[in-house]
Amino acid sequence: MFSKNTQAIIYNFKPNAVQRMLDFDYLCQRKTPSVAALVTAGSKGLHKAFFGSKEITLPIYPSIHDAAAMHPNADVMINFASFRSAYDSSKLALNEKTINTVVIIAEGIPENQARDLARMSKEKGKFIIGPATVGGIQAGAFKIANTAGTIENIITCKLHRPGSVGFVSKSGGLSNEMYNVLARTTDGLFEGIAVGGDSYPGSTLLENLLRFEKMPEVKMMVMLGELGGIDEYDVIEAKKKGKITKPLVAWVTGTCSGIFPTEVQFGHAGAKSNAEMETAQAKNAAMKEAGIIVPDSFEDFDDKIAETYNSLVKKGVLIPAKDSDPPKIPVDYAVALKSKMIRKPTSITCTISNDSGEELTYAGTQISEIIEKDYSLGDVISMLWFKKRLPAYASKFIEKVLIIAADHGPCVSGAHNAIVASKAGKDLVSSVASGMLTIGPRFGGAIDDAARYFKGAHDRGLTADEFVEEMKAKNIRIPGIGHRVKSAKNPDKRVELLKKYAKDNFPETKYLDFALQVEQETLKKANNLILNVDGCIGILFVDLMSSCKFSKEDTEEILSIGCLNGLFVLARSIGMIGHVLDQKRLKAPLYRHPYDDILFE
């Protein structure tokens, strides 16, 4: 059934199980991977995995039929479907001509379904391992899914090379322990199968023993049964009829069931004894009577196995397999990193937030504290932008700026572009991005510049008229001064509000005071050369940083990396989202600019 060339199709594959199979293959020095293909209902593509240190791809098919058709050599299907769907997928596999063995991992498949699958498999001359199993292993050849645990265990139990013992059990968990026993007492396992803990496994203890009976490499057999059910009696019958000739050492667990006052269901579905003959005691006694080698308790199971093995060696029936050193499996990067075997420089540094711990933090403060202690939006912005929580008046100022700059009607460049994009049928993100991309030196981008120039002039000790003259000499328009519509007679309400808030709440406003002196100078030249909203925001932000004791370096850095324009971007995104939603709700059609609004030359 299995050999060093056996290949499997894996249904509902688990990446870890696939990798463990491939690692085992490498350990056994198989030429081809034991996994031929993967099936995930409705998807298609490639799965990457390691075969030794080499990375390989395994094809993923949308159906069992597709996988079987493309990989006629793969005659095993390992089914990882849940207990709800394992019946249907196993049936499909049994119907594929090329699939001869189906391994069903799921636990909790209804008995009626398990019995029906067993019937189908018999009618078709096929073989089922499971349900409710970890699978099985042919040492040095083929390993089903997660059987035998870690690589270290596989090597300790000598499973990377064939021994001489055939082992079958109900329990998957205990088969690992038994592989360990066999490695200590014999030359190791040839093939081991866990038929699964259900009442009606697809293949029985006996069916597997009869397979071992036919394998020339298997010289002796070991069986671990359990209380409940009558499957062990089939083995006894076969032994009595001479169908089992190889030495068989067997034990049925559950001899303790009599001490329980009320009925107990042990871990496995089938592990419940309903009648005297289903008890472990009755089965052990009957096995012994039939000539099977049965210990007095699990305690001397290993001795009985060793005795049987040694006598076969003595008789020359069994020539002990030689030990071999398997190749080393490269360590997985994640494992090596976790065990501190290796180190690696990081590619990205983050200093403002952290979601890698128990709880998300902003600037080192847990999100639960931020919510419970009622931090404001301004607090959060200052924590993520400046890595510290600002005093309440400053956080509130940030919020005022956001409110004032959130929108400025549909005519300004940003909102207009967002509206045009939305009318062209673009989605929300694209439309807002289209508006956002218009923010720059002429639209909304004067805040940083205003802050820089006014701060520079003030800090150098220039008077207002000296500053204006200097800018004129350099032929630079003073950023933050001037408005297309508003004037000294028709002041911008937004600027009035911000100035008032700062005057009422900031400890000092020396930069604003300087800017207002500059405004007096520029107003002498034209009525609309007022301190505009961009300039006001930028300059007040410099006042804010100064009164919040930002260092000189921090302040300069903040102004140079575009932080203040960020305020405008953040604020205006609120308005732009609003405009796009507005257009969507209105089902506004495609916009075309009118000819009469364009001068053709």
Binding site: G149, N153, D198, T262, F266, G267, S297, F301
Partner: protein, 408 residues
């Protein structure tokens, strides 16, 4: 789980939604019940406890041919009272009430599943003496994947049309609703010739719940009669329900001197087996297991619960705690030991004064680190901890533990 017994009431209702029977629990208002089921006051009644134990007749727990008021009195007198059945003590909480059916003939019918077929057994000699008349039992096997033919049924079981019809429809429900056992012992026919089950036992395959949840409805799988959880068992059961891992605890003898804390369902059975096989069943204090990679907090709570129980009855006699397990597949042994070690530290004084010795055997991922931790803990706390790995046979520590308990 898999095959679970259900109450007679549940079985009857699943087999025939219209069957005349009612359930009485401590919450039931009997007069209200009679209003909704007028037949209760019109017919003569049968009352029985419905709690998964048999031999009710022999224990004077069946009331026959009773009026509603008699039935009411019978139930009120017994509801909530403790009785002993087959050496098990338990409190009566569930009764089934049905019409009393005078009858002469008692038939036997059972259906069970087997690997390759379902087995129908039928006998015209049902009732109390069914076992004496086992030679009259007729059997009919229905291979998996087939349906019984009515004519075949009639010939093989030797029944008439109405019985064949009853068996056939019962079998249909048995199969469709994933029963693993149905037994009518006995059933009869009423004066109109309709089949009437007098006593009924049923077992369902509970793994089929996902396909039958509509038909099964609000079905209850009762615990075996008399199974009452101690606060510690309840605590572990609650933890088990909340966890993705498996944590089980049954206390068998609180004064027992051999306590076990074994990883894995299969291994825990073998440890308990070995103690029994070595003749120390009477000293087994508990049965339990932890598996499925429980986290440190869970193993800590589990170990603490067991240590608390194990050191409680300080009668000056020696005792042992067996921290056993096979070679784990993927469970990180050192990790699960961390929680156990935390509990051992907490109970170090009680461990000493109660003369407890600890035996450890485990293998699997990271077992070297786990065993080393245990060894060092023993030295640090000055409590005797014997530690073995996968090169020792899994149950090697059992005879060692027994020797210690037996020593003076």
């Amino acid at each position: 789980m898999a095959r679970r017994r259900i109450r007679e009431y549940s079985a009857k209702k699943l087999l025939n939604r219209n069957s005349k029977c009612v359930q009485v629990t401590p919450e039931t208002d009997l007069d209200d019940l009679a209003k909704k089921n007028p037949w209760l006051r019109e017919a003569k009644l049968v009352v029985k406890p419905d709690m998964l134990f048999g031999k009710r007749g022999k224990n004077n727990l069946v009331l026959l041919d009773a009026s509603f008021d008699d039935a009411k009195r019978f139930i009120m007198e017994r509801m909530g009272s403790e009785i002993e059945i087959n050496n098990v003590h338990g409190v009566l909480t569930h009764f089934i009430v049905e019409p009393f059916m005078p009858h002469e003939k008692e038939y036997y019918l059972s259906i069970v599943t087997a690997r390759a077929h379902d087995l129908i057994r039928f006998s015209t000699a049902g009732g109390m003496s069914v076992e004496e008349n086992w030679d009259k039992m007729k059997e009919f096997r229905i291979p998996v994947g087939t349906r019984p033919h009515r004519e075949e049924l009639k010939t093989i079981l030797g029944v008439d049309d109405r019985t064949a019809e009853f068996i056939s429809s019962t079998y249909q429900t048995f199969h469709d609703l994933d029963f693993s056992l149905i037994e009518f012992n006995p059933f009869t026919f009423d004066s109109d010739g309709n089949p009437f089950p007098l006593d009924c036992r049923g077992e369902l395959d509970d793994t089929a719940e996902f396909k039958n949840y509509r038909e099964w409805g609000a079905l209850e799988f009762p615990k075996p009669f008399g199974k009452k959880l101690s606060p510690e068992e309840q605590f572990i059961e609650d933890m088990d329900h909340k966890s993705g891992s498996s944590l089980k605890l049954t206390i068998l003898n609180p004064h027992g001197k051999i306590w076990t804390m074994v990883a894995g369902g299969g291994a825990s059975v073998i440890y308990t087996d070995t103690i029994v096989d070595l003749g120390m069943a009477q000293e087994i204090a508990n049965y339990g297991e932890y598996s499925g990679d429980p986290n440190t907090e869970e193993t800590y709570q589990y170990a603490k619960t067991i240590l608390d129980l194990a050191t409680r009855d300080n009668d000056g006699k020696r005792r042992v705690l067996i921290i056993g397990g096979g070679v784990a597949n993927f469970t990180d042994v050192a990790n699960t030991f961390k929680g156990i070690i935390q509990a051992l530290r907490e109970y170090k004084d009680k461990i000493k004064t109660s003369k407890m010795r600890i035996f450890v055997r485990r293998g699997g991922p990271n077992y070297e680190a786990g065993l080393k931790m245990m060894k060092e803990l023993g030295e640090e706390l000055k409590i005797p901890i014997d530690v073995y790995g996968p090169d020792a046979h899994m149950t090697k520590i059992v005879p060692m533990a027994i020797d210690y308990v037996k020593g003076a």
